[in-house]
């Protein structure tokens, strides 16, 4: 799936936002759970403090009672030591319990009762001890017998047990809550971590695939770039070639038009000069000498005729040149029609037109080996190209051997079509291989009629079809013309316009 830049930015931003949100939630939950944990821990500590303070208080009261009992039985002061110690430590211990109990409001009422009972108990104990000290053992014993001390002690015991029970419950609850909070914290962390991991994976996936696409796109651009440079080079070459050709064409045309012009101007001046003896003869009239008459006659009958003949032939030549130029430029401007052409049939038709000339002698003939059945091009141009090249092969034959022509067509690189026309004719000198394609230029012995237009015309047509023509030849051996054409003229013109 291709990832657009907008999608990439949106999805990455979204994933990032989700990731941050999850992180915030995790941090907040952790903070909250940690605070809760701390609170629960405080509660646990408080409950523990209440428990120990309660237990210590009970033990202290029991110590005090034990000391009192011992003293009452023995009246020995040394038994009173636990009682004294308990008495002196009791206020501290009570304050400790009170402080610890401040965290557990539900034990407040019990504590008040306990305070009350403690006060009474301690007063009862103090009363018995004081009575004993004064020697009033009876009063002391009667106080003990009254059962007030025992009842107070029982109440105290049960109240302290109640406080213990409350703190026990509190402790268990706090521990449970702490365990729950820890479990929650763990799960939050695990789930959050998984979520963040998922976001990170998703983000990584989009980044990796986007980067991969970017790399692929860049590679494609580089490839296109290279292709573009190649094409620019091809076009530039073609333009340079075309420009040189135009310059050469202009040069040839001006030169070739100038040559007959020199004749016309020259013979016109000569003509002017010729009229001098005629003029002299006419002016002299009857007094003209025989020499004057002879000169006038010669000028009229020979020189004038010659001059007029040259002027006329030069004008004709200029006219011919202009017509040829027009023909070529018209051919260049003709609208080409790209159509599917049966190349094999076209070659066969062109060969059939000259077949009787080629096979007039024993051993002569035209051999066709066409491996490209079809191409898309302009039929008329192809007809003329093939006709012209085959005509040349016949026209510039070697007089000492029968004509043998071989026409081959092959597929080349990128589907281009290569047509070769090979003959065993008189050949073309190496210095003339470019010249033969120039307008009005010919090569070798001028033993056949021709204007020097055919190959110039053929090259113009081949180039119009997007192809090119080359020649390979050895003087006296034979010549091979190679025409290369694009497989599809329409496609070629589209790419040339692009």
């Amino acid at each position: 799936m291709p990832i657009s830049q907008a999608f990439f930015q949106r999805s990455n931003a979204l994933l990032l936002a989700i990731g941050i949100a999850v992180l915030v939630v995790i941090v907040a939950t952790s903070l909250w759970l940690t605070t809760a944990s701390e609170r629960y821990f405080g509660e646990v500590t408080a409950a523990r403090a209440v428990r120990s303070a309660t237990a210590d208080l009970l033990s202290l009261v029991q110590d005090a009672e034990t000391g009192q009992r011992g003293y009452l039985l023995t009246r020995d002061e040394s038994y009173l030591a636990p009682y004294n110690t308990a008495f002196s430590r009791l206020p501290d211990q009570r304050a400790r319990l009170e402080r610890a109990a401040a965290r557990l409001p539900e034990i407040g009422p019990i504590l008040q009762r306990v305070d009350n009972e403690l006060d009474q108990k301690m007063t009862e104990l103090a009363a018995t001890v004081d009575a004993t000290r004064k020697g009033d053992t009876e009063t002391a014993l009667s106080l003990v017998r009254s059962g007030t001390g025992k009842r107070l002690m029982d109440d105290l015991r049960s109240d302290l047990a109640a406080i213990l029970a409350v703190s026990e419950t509190e402790l268990r609850e706090a521990i449970d809550a702490q365990v729950t909070a820890s479990t929650r914290l763990r799960w939050t962390t695990i789930v959050g971590a998984l979520l963040i991991l998922a976001m990170a994976s998703a983000a990584s996936w989009t980044i990796i695939s986007y980067t991969r696409e970017l790399v692929a796109a860049r590679r494609e651009v580089e490839l296109l770039n290279a292709g573009l440079e190649e094409r620019v080079r091809e076009r530039t070459d073609a333009l340079v070639k075309a420009n040189e050709e135009v310059q050469r064409f202009a040069y040839i045309v001006t030169h070739d038009l100038r040559a007959p012009l020199v004749n016309i101007m020259g013979f016109t001046s000569e003509l002017e000069a010729m009229f001098k003896p005629i003029d002299a003869y006419v002016t002299a009239g009857n007094a003209a000498s025989p020499e004057q008459k002879a000169a006038a006659q010669e000028a009229l009958s020979i020189d004038v005729a010659e001059a007029i003949g040259f002027i006329r032939s030069s004008t004709r030549k200029m006219d011919g040149l202009i017509n040829a130029i027009l023909k070529i430029s018209r051919e260049g401007g003709r609208e080409l029609r790209a159509e599917s052409v049966d190349l094999t049939a076209l070659i066969e038709t062109a060969a059939a037109a000259v077949h009787h000339q080629a096979s007039a002698e024993e051993g002569g003939g035209i051999e066709i080996d066409s491996q490209v059945p079809r191409l898309v091009s302009d039929r008329l141009s192809l007809d003329q190209i093939m006709g012209n090249l085959l005509d040349n092969a016949i026209k510039y034959r070697a007089p000492d051997r029968p004509i043998r022509i071989s026409v081959r067509s092959r597929r080349e690189r990128r589907g281009w079509v290569k047509i070769e026309i090979e003959d065993n004719g008189r050949g073309i000198a190496g210095t003339d291989h470019e010249r033969i394609f120039e307008l009005f230029r010919r090569s070798g012995a001028q033993n056949t009629a021709g204007e020097g237009i055919g190959l110039a015309h053929v090259r113009t047509m081949v180039r119009n079809l997007g192809g090119d023509i080359a020649v390979r030849s050895e003087l006296g051996k034979g010549t091979t013309f190679t025409v290369t054409l694009p497989p599809d003229l329409a496609a070629y013109r589209r790419s040339a316009k692009a």
Binding site: Y251, H255, D256, R258, A259, P260, L261, V262, N263, M265, G266, F267, T268, S269, E270, E306, F310, S313, S314, A429, T431, D432, R435, R441, R442, S443, G444, A445, Q446, G452
Partner: protein, 147 residues
Amino acid sequence: MTNGTPVSIIMIEDDEGHARLIEKNIRRAGVSNEIIPFANGTDALNYLFGADGSGAVSAGRQLLILLDLNLPDMGGVDILEKVKANAHTRRSPVVVLTTTDDSREIQRCYDLGANVYITKPVDYDGFAHAIRQLGLFFSVIQVPETP
């Protein structure tokens, strides 16, 4: 020309009209040497170098070559090159007389050993004058016998 030896003027010129005008004006300049005209390069080369192409046929001839560069069958420059490369003909003076006034072409001809390069002017007075000047040149130069 001097010392009575017959110097032949080889005129290689495809345009008959030009050939006639050149001849007329050379004659007007008082030059009466034999003028051998050739309308194409192939025939001229055959005359200069013989059928075997060795140039031996030119041995003992005294030649002056008038050469047009634009011939139907080959470039005049090729002829100049051949003439100046052949042991028998290289000392013969070559006068290039052509319509081409391209500076590179002129340079090329002198590099190859052309002795004079004249552009055919389109106006006839200029043309006639140039040829007559050439006639004067013909009457004073010494042409060596080809070895």
